[in-house]
Symmetry: C2
Subunit: 123 residues, 2 copies
Amino acid sequence: MENSYFNGISCPNEYVLALKDTLNVITGKWKLAIVTTLLFEKKRFSDIQRMIVGITPRMLSKELKELEMNGVVVRKVYDSTPVLVEYELTDSGKKLKHIIDTLVQWGLEHREQAIAAFAEAEA
Amino acid sequence: MENSYFNGISCPNEYVLALKDTLNVITGKWKLAIVTTLLFEKKRFSDIQRMIVGITPRMLSKELKELEMNGVVVRKVYDSTPVLVEYELTDSGKKLKHIIDTLVQWGLEHREQAIAAFAEAEA
DNA sequence: TATAGCAGTATACAAAAGGATACTGCTATA
DNA sequence: TATAGCAGTATCCTTTTGTATACTGCTATA
């Protein structure tokens, strides 16, 4: 396994790429919101739009395409009339729950300390 | 504990805020790079700048201020001559290692599947 | 036949994030 | 006394990200 230098620290190349991949998937204003609604169950475009308050169809379309490109979501088209489209998480997508939990956990543990630090920095 | 609606899903208000806090800390082009270099040991401004290839002093300064505001980093000024400034992770900051590990882990597990999905979406 | 819903796209714009470059005041060292 | 290093700041610009608004083609239902 080859190593690369990330911030002067030698570490496996894959680690750096893996980190970038993950960040790619979870950053973006609506990405985690979309993933969260889909964790429950697969949904249609208009369902998602209704559940996520404030999202425009343009952004929903864009984010869904990126999630699909990244293998987090699959778009299923049923050729009924009228056409039915459903968005569903892949296995990888479902595993994002663990990441979300970890992020929430850190946030909870950190919250009080952060508030204190912020108050101090303000003063 | 009060609940709020996140994407139409009822969940504790704190969870949503906690998630936002964490995302605030880890998003930004250089945030995790800075945290990673500091995980090793505390460092001076110019040390960090040397280790993170490509970062400008402007961005480093900006990101460090935000990390400090968020209680992830502490800025220590020793009034020697010339003045010595050191940046160090707080306890919360050190705990970000767990998040980074989780992100890398997901990325590694996901990588092969993602590549396949991408190839398919292209075709 | 008019209306509403589905699944989006198109165009234009505003805001946020990040980059390039130059500069500051300080001091230790050659 | 000139130079280099420390710890940044200031100004301007480009790129990326996200918003607003209108529109498309299709079809089921009233």
